[in-house]
């Protein structure tokens, strides 16, 4: 049976060239970059320096502005908590959009507990933040504004350039979570007025367990990890050398190839979009054109999300539900079965939120893969609807002309 991976927004496969670059640092070069009086440590230090340069080059930054972390969650935590703390007692207000990742949203909990005020900005039906709403939310006491470059669940690209320009004038720090977008769409800090940018290696064909935070020269960030003096004092702990090398290699490849990937994925995405658009009572989510390449998301009435994913998986098609209802199968209890905050934010009625599906294509996918999904989906939807009491009622109602 075919095995088609359409869940690249959750993670991407490691590029073989990245593995090749990492291998020496998992085998012969095991040195600690902080202990570089000898050859082993020197090799590790040089490798980390090179990776810092490559990661910085992906976003047009200087190498000294890039801090490696254990991933995007740690980078988001460091950005939000570190910038809020460093802003000092006169600035105790934070602004975020309603569609930020949990690693931004949940970092606000300790801030609220410490007495910070938080403004959560709404989004429109396409999931876009209105830059004018950011302007209105800003106060003299605003420490930080955090808006993602693109949303993983609905694919929408946010107007971060405009928002950055507005935030810059107010003296607050601007954080952009580029976890879903870096390495896929252009991001250049020489043009984007962002002070902090989060990157995740495994989202652009690098290894898991490594990410980075771009900290613009002069931006104040208080550390969250305490120990030695690694990563310019922002992030103590012995570096994940093979992971960092992998992130650098993946960043260098993405910088060279992202344009070609995007062109191809946009084309495949359009085929998928058109291919499923004919399914009755199907509703696309996110912005129709300002979206991540190869990202197609939608919900279908009278067919529950997890059941759709199970049947797709039985046909070898691996996709994801945008809804925590079905993704939290490993949750502790039923309290974890809540509707997706992102879908609620864009006004998807909660009684059908459970039907949300995200197809995120990657550079390894082919047109045949897309055809497989396009061919499979209508039958799966029909099969589930035939079982659904809500669809039966809907049919009776339409038959009566209601």
């Amino acid at each position: 049976m075919a095995k088609v991976f359409f869940d690249h927004i959750s993670t991407t496969p490691l590029d073989p060239r990245v593995l090749e670059a990492m291998m020496p640092y998992l085998t012969e070069w095991y040195g600690n970059p902080s202990s570089h009086i000898h050859g082993q440590g020197q090799a590790a230090l040089r490798a980390v320096d090179q990776a810092r340069g490559e990661t910085a080059a992906l976003i047009g930054a200087k190498p000294a502005e890039v801090i490696f972390t254990s991933g995007a969650t740690e980078a988001n935590n460091l950005a939000v908590l570190g910038a809020a703390e460093a802003a000092g007692p006169a600035r105790r207000h934070v602004v975020v959009s309603e569609v930020e990742h949990f690693s931004v949203m949940n970092a606000l909990i300790p801030l609220r507990n410490a007495g910070y005020e938080v403004t959560v900005l709404p989004v429109d039906r396409d999931g876009r933040v209105d830059p004018e709403a950011v302007r209105k939310a800003l106060r003299p006491g605003t420490a930080l504004v955090s808006v993602m470059q693109a949303n993983s669940e609905i694919g929408t690209i946010e107007p971060v350039e405009e928002i950055g320009g507005i935030v810059r004038g107010a003296g607050a720090a601007f954080h952009v979570d580029a976890t879903a977008s870096a390495g896929h769409i252009p991001l250049d800090v020489r043009k984007l007025p962002a002070d902090l940018v989060t990157l995740s290696a495994h989202n652009f064909y690098g290894p898991k367990g490594v990410g980075a935070l771009y900290i613009r020269e002069g931006t104040k960030v208080a550390p969250r990890t305490f120990g030695g003096f690694q990563e310019m004092g922002y992030r103590a702990g012995t570096e994940n050398v093979p992971g960092i090398v992998g992130m650098g290699a993946a960043g260098a490849i993405a910088a060279r190839e992202m344009e070609a990937w995007a062109e191809r994925l946009n084309r495949l995405g359009r085929i998928l979009w058109k291919g499923v658009a004919g399914i009755p009572l199907l509703h696309f989510t996110g912005h129709p054109s300002l979206r991540l390449p190869g990202h197609v998301s939608f919900w279908v009435e009278h067919a529950e999300g997890e059941s759709l994913l199970l049947f797709l998986n039985l046909k070898g098609i691996m996709a994801a539900s945008g809804s925590a209802c079905s993704s939290n199968l490993r949750g502790h209890d039923e309290e974890d079965l809540v509707a997706s905050p992102v879908l609620r934010a864009i006004g998807v009625p909660s009684d059908i939120c459970t039907g949300s599906i995200t197809f995120s294509l990657g550079k390894g996918n082919t047109e045949d893969d897309v055809r497989l999904a396009v061919d499979a989906l209508p039958g799966i939807v029909s099969r589930l609807r035939e079982m659904s009491p809500t669809y039966l009622d809907y049919q009776k109602q339409t038959a009566r002309g209601g």
């Binding site: 059941s307 939290n328 949750g331 039923e334 974890d336 079965l337 009684d351 035939e386």
Partner: protein, 127 residues
């Protein structure tokens, strides 16, 4: 079918659900759940001389909800009304070789559907 969060039995009932459909002039109809909570089940029973002779269902929901509904219809057929009232969420989950912790509410829904359908039967057949 080891891949995934569900037992082989759940997947079997999910892929090949038994007794999907409606019963014309059913003696008892039970409806529980709410699509807003992610699942909804409608159970139809045909009852003759105090015994369930046929059962059908329609369910909107996840894999566990569909499998619980299907298993329930198999379990309830042939039982007397009194025996049917004894069906619990535990017996449904057990018959499916267990459910993930967050999916126990699906078997609870099956139990509630039986109660709801039998209450409807009693209303329709007083005395």
């Amino acid at each position: 079918m080891a891949a995934g969060p569900y037992s082989a039995k759940v997947m079997d009932h999910f892929m090949n659900p038994r007794n999907v459909g409606e019963i014309e002039a059913a003696d008892g109809i039970g409806e529980v759940g709410n699509p807003a909570c992610g699942d909804m089940m409608r159970l139809y029973l045909k009852i003759e001389e105090g015994r369930v002779v046929d059962a059908k269902f329609r369910t909107f929901g996840c894999g566990a909800a569909i499998a619980s509904s299907s298993m329930l219809t198999e379990m309830i057929k042939g039982k007397t009304v009194e025996e049917a009232r004894e069906i619990t969420n535990h017996s449904v989950a057990e018959a499916l070789d267990g459910l993930p912790a967050v999916k126990i509410h699906c078997s609870v829904m099956a139990e509630q559907a039986v109660k709801s359908a039998l209450d409807d039967y009693v209303r329709k057949h007083p005395g």
